[in-house]
Amino acid sequence: MDEKAYLLKWIKKVQKRMNTGILLRRSLEGLCVGLFIGTGVEVYAYLRPFYYSHVCSIIAVVLSLIVGIVIGCLQRRDMRAAAGRIDGFGLKERVATALDGIEDEDRMAQLQRSDAVRGLSSVESKIRIPLSIGWYRLISPVMLLVLMVLFFMMPSEARAMAKEKHEVERQIKEKLEEIEEAIKTIEDIDEESLTDREKEQLQSMMESLQSSYNEMEQSESLEDFERANQKLDYRYDQIAEALNQMAQNVEQREASNPQDPAQATPTPTPTPTPDPNNPNQNNGGEGDENEQGDGNSGGSNQQNPGGSNSTSQQLQNAAQQMNSHISTGSNNQNLNQPNGGNQPNGGNQPDGGNQPDGGNQPDGGNQPDGGNQPDGGNQTGGGNQPDGGNQPGDGNQPGDGNQPGDGNQPGDGNQPGGGNQPGGGNQPGGGNQPGGGGQPGGGGQPGGDDGNPGTNGGGGGGAGQGNGGGGAGSHHDYISLPNADGEDDDLYGIRGSGDGTGYARYENGLGWEGNHVDYNNVMGQYTDRAYQGIESGRYPSGMEDVIKEYFTSFN
């Protein structure tokens, strides 16, 4: 082997060894730094809520290691440094000088190279290039890793809090997107066929949703979120019902005046806002033969509601979307509800219980709030009128027509008998009733018995199973009584002007009008009433256990 090759071989060998040592040292140092940061993050997350602590720790470790490796690569020594290192073994810069003049062939360069080779040969056996890692570089990462994993695994209150907070934030984000989508859907509705009042209603719906959006956005805790979510569900419900109603009105107008639908005389649309001055509200029991006919047409409309691109179709789709939002949330909480919100066409039946002219009800005029209740949408348990349910549909309940308050009874939604009304089959809109989703009673409507024999119910009969009512396991802070005075102990009273309420439309939007009472204040009354109904045999046989179980679940 000639002198040049010999020198270069040794220089490269030492260079490689040096670079390996540098790379290892820097990598270990980087790892140490990363583990130190990661441990700090985990300690912080142990004391203070920080959901992404694990991710941050791992990122810190990986990044630091990468940085260490990169620095190690950048600090790689060249051949001159390696030659200098060899000279450190007593060669007095012979090798470094020989490397500098490796290409020179003059006399002095040759002599010098030979001298360097002689010197290198003499110390060859002594040349040892340690990696110089150091015990502390090996021990430190291990200790830090143990420490980090320890804090990584250790459960703490702050960690649980962070997890919960994160979950809330995630849900809030989803809800915000959902609301944006809902607002956009309403915005996209073609308003050409709508009356001014309906346009105003749409505007109110959007404001209402925007209000919910703001509330949701400002939610910081689980409690805030749940509260906002309840309001939102309620608003969805109200809006869905209003949209359905609007869709029916539009269809009717189109049917009556297909040439010029925009000029059609607007039928007073039952708004989600209870309107005590609305004459239709008190028009209980006025169902007549005509109404029956309407009911049939309503049923048929369920199958083909108003053409594919019509405004009514848009409204129905929007209502369907609102309801789907509700049911999504409700299903999570009411998995044991047999016919919850998963009933096909359940809450989305546009012509369900919201049919103002539900003339199909066998009770006809005896059903005071049957199909004629224009404010059915506002009834949290409209279709589930307990009294109605007990009426076998034979019209023997003379008091039905005299019970106008049923429509206003929010507790009806909690009374499972609703779905058992023989007329229930004719009130497929049970699902559309706001009580369905958010109201605790809604989901409890074992309306599966829609097809009660002996009823005249036709049309959309069994479709309306309710929106999967509200949730036996869900928590509610209050009960909304849209048409009741909150301060009034008589929960069934008719609300007056509503001035006394602390909630106003401009504050809370369309879906949050009315008064609110504490949930605990009314729950007892509802329970008592349910049990009284069982004792008096007002509910269909076989349903007693369901009702009992329902109310027991709140305990």
Binding site: E93, R94, A96, T97, M108, L111, Q112, D115
Partner: protein, 322 residues
């Protein structure tokens, strides 16, 4: 054994022969030899009676070079050094003839150089740097090899003229001649007072010395070592509160030449860091102008140079051993 090795052995023999007449002072002898091998001039500073003149005389004898001594006094004139044109009358008439001064020799001993006036001192400048003496309109080359070995007394400064910086810069080395140890002193006394005095033998001649100088110039220097020298030079120009003015580029050349000469005398073909470290004090000590802080703190040039070298070395070690 090649020609370089032969020459290196001769130089070592020279050193040995000088040591026969100069007891002790090994470092001084080595430094003077390095300066001669580098073709540089030397300023020797030491107390009277330390053998400076004898050293120079012995070197000239061992190297078989012509030697002239000039005792500098306040009334010494430049012409007394360089020589002068004198009128000479002959058969054809009269004409000027240049009468060469004592500077025309291979080795000049400028004894107590700081006692002459600056005007006279400056008469040496051209000869020291250019190896030329200009008298009137005529320039005369001095014989090669040409070395100026000057001495000065650090005490009795009254009535002296400190050498200006320009002249100091012409001296490659400033060598401090220390007082001998007791054993060395005994040897000196025994050598001078005995009947049989040591006689140094001539080893080299002028021509061989010039070859040796050329060989020393060929010694290789690694980039890392060159970088080290440059770092030292740069360090004299900033960062040290005791240095008012740093060294000139001529100092860097002197370090390189001196380091090469040392490597050659050590039998190597390349300069090492040790070679640099060995010559740096002699090269820099008369080139640094210290600040008032240094004077007030009692810091001398050698201390400042040592500090600079130490810092530069630490810096390079940190860079190389990350």
């Amino acid at each position: 054994m090649n020609e370089y090795d032969v020459m290196q052995q001769k130089l070592l023999a020279c050193e040995f022969e000088i040591g026969r007449e100069i007891i002790g002072q090994r470092d001084v002898i080595r430094s003077v030899m390095l300066a001669i091998l580098s073709g540089g001039n030397v300023l020797l500073e030491g107390m009277p009676g330390l053998g400076k003149t004898r050293l120079v005389n012995t070197i000239s004898h061992v190297l078989n070079l012509s030697f002239k001594r000039i005792q500098f006094t306040p009334d010494l004139m430049p012409g007394d050094i360089t020589g002068t044109n004198i009128m000479e009358r002959n058969e054809s008439g009269s004409a000027f003839r240049f009468e060469a001064g004592p500077i025309f020799a291979n080795i000049i001993l400028a004894d107590e150089i700081n006692r002459a006036t600056p005007k006279t001192q400056s008469a040496l400048l051209e000869a020291m740097q250019e190896h030329i003496v200009t008298v009137g309109n005529v320039s005369h080359k001095v014989p090669e090899p040409f070395f100026v070995l000057a001495t000065q007394n650090p005490i009795e400064t009254e009535g002296t003229y400190p050498l200006p910086e320009a002249q100091l810069d012409r001296f490659m080395f400033k060598i401090m001649v220390p007082f001998p140890t007791k054993e060395e002193l005994a040897g000196i006394v025994g050598l001078t007072e005995s009947v049989q005095q040591g006689a140094a033998q001539t080893v080299l001649n002028g021509e061989e010395l010039q070859q040796a100088i050329q060989m020393a110039k060929e010694i290789k220097i690694a980039d890392a070592v060159m970088d080290y020298i440059l770092e030292i030079m740069m360090a004299t120009h900033g960062g040290n509160k005791y240095v008012r003015e740093g060294a000139s580029p001529r100092a860097a050349q002197a370090i390189i030449r001196g380091a090469k000469a040392r490597a050659f005398m050590e039998g190597r073909y390349n300069v090492s860091f040790d070679d640099v470290d060995a010559v740096v004090p002699a090269v820099l000590r008369h080139r640094l102008i210290l600040s008032f802080d240094a004077v007030s703190d009692g810091v001398n040039e050698d201390m400042v140079v040592a500090d600079i070298v130490k810092n530069v070395k630490a810096q390079m070690v940190a860079q190389n051993h990350v």
